[in-house]
Symmetry: C2
Subunit: 318 residues, 2 copies
């Protein structure tokens, strides 16, 4: 299937089936996908992107749902990319999906797409971010990128947002584990969900202590901690306020553009490297590599020697 | 610091400090690291590599410890690369380390190296596999690569072995979650640890059912399920027997060489791509990319257009 002008027109007019079809195209990450992304690019960039991440069971889906309803009450449309099931040993994602579907899934102003990690050998973060571009071109006001904060590629997704929220629960050690996972570095603010549980005060205090150890001057952004009980819809307006406060900071400090430029740089590099890699691994060079392998395994040839040969051949044939 | 002949001589004579220093060099993944790997390559390939993976808390560290002691009783030396703490929200890894150190850490025939996922932005699987090469060159008979089976890069590490063991526990749903995580595809056999727990029979049966659904003919390897209670040292000889049975199968089917060739192919491709990427992203091209970003963000220029320009420039300047 090829992305044509009819599909393009329908997509930018937010025809639901065309949005779904377009995301399916970018998920394939092939030539069609590249064409589609090229064509929609001028229509991309108007949505505000929110990344939501955190450990399994912290309540990310619930917060995404409640925040979506909050945005809908302000008459804003919402696109959601949920990367599920992220942590292979936790489950929960499917349940989250079911709750989500019955709740906001029928709303025409909301588009939800789940992307599975299973079977996605690499390229997951690219596909998720490309899908966000599709939703952006389709005109959604907010795009939420929801992932479990486990593994580099999922952190990449959560970071591909204007505002990144890390959701934690008051369980002991959660803050320390989040620090280990690199979540501290990517959080624009924290949501301490299920904050009606015992240990909530101590967890917030521990988080504050860890945050105060970060390098920061008076002009830099200092992540806040917002308390919520998302299942009872408590703390959602406060989360929205904090998103707005962060947005104002980004605008004022010019970081809104600077950060988008940084993310664009990473994407352009990926496009270049992918194209180059395709040219590099032509059938001829694949075959010659295959023929060399036996010599390498028997120790007659070093892999570095073979690598040099392939590179020379590539450069000479350009 | 540069890898010189003195360090090389000491490394291949299994001088412990030189092994540690050499691994620190490959962890940096720079020019020194490439030189080192090039120089040790003729000495690499004699060790038998065992990958051990599975969900957090399944008992991977305990099995690695007990298996190490079993190998030591046969007078074999053992090198261990433990990728810790793998799943950021589980903990346990540090405790595993402490148990390990008091147990086998003092044995001169055992070398243990922990590699942290934190702060390792990419390249983790390369570094872990390079470190295994160092241990191989140093003359260890067995090399164990232990990782939590969460995330692609950690599955890559566990698969960079002659025999890959997936450790599960009888908890309900573990087998299904393992299937989702792609562990079914990489297991040469399963260890059902803590098999004295209730539900052990059902878990083994569920696992067998899932396994029987895989495509296989009479000549292909069918993964077995070995039961263990590693904390009581039960099932360890059976695990060793299964490793031997798998090794015999690999030898007989010629897959021992074929699989090593496949893995070598992946590594050579990585070497080529890394070198090419370094040449591609020269200071000049980095700068010109930086200068284009503003035009892309304001929508005047498409990222695909910039990518094409960079590629053309690269090809013309080769």
């Amino acid at each position: 299937m090829i992305f044509d002008n009819t599909l393009f027109d329908k997509l930018i007019n937010n025809d639901r089936r065309s949005v779904a079809r377009s995301i399916s195209i970018v998920e394939k990450n092939n030539q069609d996908s590249a064409e589609l992304l090229k064509q929609i690019f001028p229509n991309v960039g108007n949505a505000y992107r929110i990344g939501i991440t955190g450990p399994p069971g912290a309540g990310k889906s619930t917060i995404t749902n409640q925040l979506t309803k909050f945005f809908r009450d302000m008459n804003k449309t919402v696109g959601i990319i949920a990367v599920d099931p992220t942590s292979p040993f936790t489950g929960g994602a499917l349940l989250g999906d079911r709750v989500r579907m019955s709740d906001i899934g029928q709303d025409k102003g909301v588009f939800i797409r789940s992307m599975a990690t299973r079977g996605s050998l690499g390229g997951l973060s690219k596909k998720a971010i490309d899908a966000a571009d599709v939703l952006d071109a389709a005109g959604y006001d907010f795009i939420m990128l929801e992932t479990v904060g486990v593994g580099q590629s999922e952190l990449d997704i959560a970071q591909a947002a204007d505002t990144t929220i890390v959701v934690l629960v008051p369980e002991s050690g959660d803050a320390v584990q989040a620090m280990k996972a690199g979540l501290m570095e990517i959080a624009d603010f924290f949501v301490l969900n299920k904050s009606d549980r015992p240990g909530s005060q101590q967890a917030a205090a521990a988080l504050k202590t860890i945050l105060s150890m970060r390098d920061h001057d008076e002009n830099s952004w200092m992540p806040n901690i917002i308390k919520s009980v998302a299942s009872e819809n408590k703390g959602i307006p406060e989360i929205n306020d904090e998103i707005n406060r962060h947005y104002e900071y980004l605008k004022k400090s010019n970081k809104f553009i600077i950060n988008r430029e940084k993310r664009m740089k990473v994407r352009i590099k990926e496009i270049v490297e992918e194209k180059l890699s395709k040219e590099l691994w032509s059938e001829g060079r694949e075959n010659s590599l295959n023929l060399s392998l036996e010599k390498v395994i028997t120790g007659n040839y070093s892999p570095y020697h073979i690598a040099e040969e392939i590179l020379e051949n590539f450069k000479n044939q350009l």
